[in-house]
């Protein structure tokens, strides 16, 4: 932590972010460093190839307010400036915000916030210290993480089964659950950088060693479990939470599994290799397989094949189409369904073997079809994974919805121990 960061981190000061770095010093109402921290919403950013989303997220994981602008196409500087402007605008809506900003970004972001590489259409968006550049722009500490990890974190802290007592309905805003604040299992209070103090009435909490990140020296609890979030859409993304924290790996590449080869010599993928997961289960892979297999079936045998061939079709075949026709036994739909399920089953087997997370959660446009896909994966996992491993892993559909990245970036910011 460098000198500059130390000086700007002052939770008692209201946080209007100004371009020149001169901070407005409105006092937060009745705020002191210890007492009201957890009431303050987190400023969270979800950066994508298409749009920049900014939001204020409260300690219950509720999105209090959000903004969205298109991602500038001109390069790194413009994107950072856009983030700065959006952050400044939204921060004015409240008196005080949490003293750390959470930012999700596509690409390989390591646990120091350095961006190694990103397959996204933003010129210059690779090989730079993302967190530091944002900190310079925002004049506040920043936690930067990969966007898939941010979404996984959102699902981990506020999805169904998170133990938080409340979860956001798909696409919607969470309401607090009955009486129970989130963090019953995972405390989001950074004030516990201290030992249990002398007062005998203070209950025990999670107290990491001095100056250390939470898990050093503190026993893993049953609640600090692991989760993998598999997003099935344009690409196949995997976000990881291990023992309660987003897991980036040594180079920010943990979970980069879209081009994992599950079938050596298999289908050609857009990346140039053969047999990648994406070749079978991504939107492009589904479209191409549907078109290719349709030649095996006559119109009479397969209404889906007929549709694919029809002149008036401008839509690309998608999982939605597959599952529209599958219940009637359409053989083309069944053939594609088989490939998709097999690819995702193998992906889950790899995740389970490596990490054995308690939960593997699915999201993405393709997972409207989860009801068809998950049962097949569950059936197949035992072929690839040891019994006691797959029995401990539940497969389910994500519940947090489109705001998962924002909610997760906010959760990561709350856990930051500065």
């Amino acid at each position: 932590m460098n000198e500059e960061k130390a000086s700007v981190h002052d939770p008692s000061i209201g946080s209007s972010i100004t371009p020149t770095g001169h901070r407005a010093t409105r006092e937060a109402k009745g705020a002191s460093a210890e007492s009201n921290d957890s009431d303050r919403p987190v400023l969270a950013v979800d950066l994508g190839g298409t749009s920049v989303k900014t939001a204020l997220v409260d300690s219950y994981g509720r999105v209090l307010s959000s903004r969205r602008v298109p991602t500038p196409g001109s390069g790194r500087g413009a994107v950072i400036e856009a983030i700065r402007q959006e952050a400044q605008s939204i921060a004015t809506e409240v008196d005080a915000i949490w003293p750390v900003v959470g930012v999700g970004s596509p690409g390989m972001v390591d646990d120091q916030g350095y961006l190694h590489e990103a397959a996204v259409n933003i010129p210059g968006w690779s090989d730079f210290h993302l967190a530091r550049e944002l900190e310079s722009a925002l004049k506040m500490p920043v936690v930067a993480l990969n966007d898939a990890n941010a979404a996984a974190m959102g699902e981990y802290t506020h999805g169904a089964g998170s133990g938080s007592g409340n979860y956001a309905a798909a696409g919607g805003v969470a309401a607090p659950g009955p009486g129970k604040a989130p963090g019953a299992t995972e405390t989001s209070d950074p004030g516990l950088g201290k030992a249990v103090a002398g007062s005998e009435n203070r209950g025990p909490g999670k107290a990491p060693g001095p100056g250390e990140a939470p898990d050093h020296g503190v026993e893993e609890s049953a609640a600090a479990s692991s989760l993998a979030l598999v997003t099935v859409g344009t690409g196949i993304g995997v976000g990881l939470v291990v023992a309660g924290s987003p897991y980036a790996g040594a180079h920010g590449a943990a979970g980069e599994l879209g081009h994992l080869v599950i079938r050596p010599g298999g289908r050609r993928c857009a990346c140039g290799n053969r047999g990648c997961v994406e070749a079978y289960a991504s939107a492009a892979g589904v479209a191409s397989q549907t078109r290719e297999f349709s030649e095996r079936f006559s119109d009479a045998e397969s209404p889906l094949a007929a549709w694919v061939r029809s002149e008036s079709t401008s839509e690309a075949p998608s999982l939605e189409h597959i599952y529209r026709y599958l219940p009637d036994g359409d053989p083309l739909a069944a053939a594609v369904h088989e490939q998709v399920c097999e690819a995702l089953a193998q992906l889950c087997a790899v995740i389970a073997t490596a990490l054995a997370p308690e939960r593997i959660v699915f999201s993405g446009g393709g997972m409207g079809a989860a009801g068809h896909i998950l049962p097949v994966i569950r059936e197949r996992l035992p072929e690839y994974v040891l019994t006691h491993v797959y029995r401990s892993t539940t497969l389910s559909v994500a519940t947090v919805g489109a705001d998962a990245g924002l909610i997760g970036a906010a959760a990561a910011a709350r856990r930051d121990r500065r």
């Binding site: 030992a195 025990p204 990491p208 250390e212 897991y247 490596a354 491993v389």
Partner: protein, 446 residues
Amino acid sequence: MKREGNKPFQRTMNRSLVLYALRETPGLSRRDLAEALALDRSTISNIVGELIELGLLEEIETGPNSEVGTGARGRPAVGLRVRDERLCVLGLEISAERYRAVVRDNAGTIRYRTTGSRQFRSEPGDAVATLVAELSERAEAHAGVRVVGAGCAVPGSVHSAKAHIVYSRELDVTDCDLPRSSHVGGARSGEAGGDRSGETGGERSGEAGGRVPGGAGYAASGPGGQGPREADGQIVDSNRGLRAGAGRSIPIVYDNDANCGAWGEVHHGTGDGRNLLFVQGMPGIRHFGIGIGVVVDGVVRSGANHGAGEFCSTAWNGDERSQLSLDAERASAAGTDAEVRSRLIDEMLRNLVPVVSVLDPSAVVFGGFFREHFNELHSHCVGENAAGMERIAPLFRSSAAGVDEIAAGAAGMFHQQLFRVPRYDSGESATTVRWNEVAALLEEAG
């Protein structure tokens, strides 16, 4: 074991925090500790005084130029250090018919080592308890070291918190409890039915005879099992009428063997031990086992139901179906048959690539059979059929500790658990090592 109330828990936790802080930064003064942990000077003084008396800490001189511990008025404050050389732990690696053992202190120095034959199949618990007791006595006789705990590396899936083997092909057991301690000198070791702590929440223990934790080691298995009860500070096992309390009780902590190798790398490997894989190859009599220890953020992760890293065995799930294309008998010839070995290595690497993709480790460390044949690994990672292996080859390393990698790692695992700050609800966990027990053993040693 009774759960402690809040007050004694706070004392336990604060004591662990002091020890943890001093392990991370030797030489801190009482004032440094008070500041770092946000505790009163008097609280710190009490804890430090108690730990010095128990023989776990000692004061050291810190000179005027030292960076830590400058006292008031510019006088150098007295620094503190953990007495590493007193924390000697037995690290044990077992297989169906053999064992390897080291005694390692907290600084990582190996003070004693030995190997031998012993039957561990079918009833590994009894054999381990007996062996721990024997080796402790031998280590004391031959090397003058007093063993204060044991870490045991078990081939197979191990539930460390319950001291329980989920499944081990090598040892031919399923759902098997293990003793949480071994009794040395006095009543018989390895009796079933008790657990090791006789504390009622006080801060001190270790008075001779009275509060020494009882010897009977096994957790009561099954729901309705009769646990031990306390009488006058001693454990009475109502199942067998065994009266423990004489002699001393050495706590034992368990984990899967590949995980122990990973612990070893975290503590005394070269380079970045924060995110790595430890890949262990173990030729067995009827199979060839391959396990992975997964380290994330400097901690070995077992995953749900301790399944992480259960990689390939040529016979799994109890039947003879092979995950590799080699059957068990052929695979066990890998040591002598170059062609079999080549196929085995090739398949292991192909299965490893996806795991590396999930975890993005900074290093992949090879132990056991793969360490012995480390030079052959790279030759598989080039050429047309390399399929992603060339990408991971730069991560390969051979384990730092050589043949002692698992046993020393198991000892390192015990040290790690010893210095972990406990959670309030971890009272039942078999990996929670109580400083009181260790201190009792030290006090007896003098």
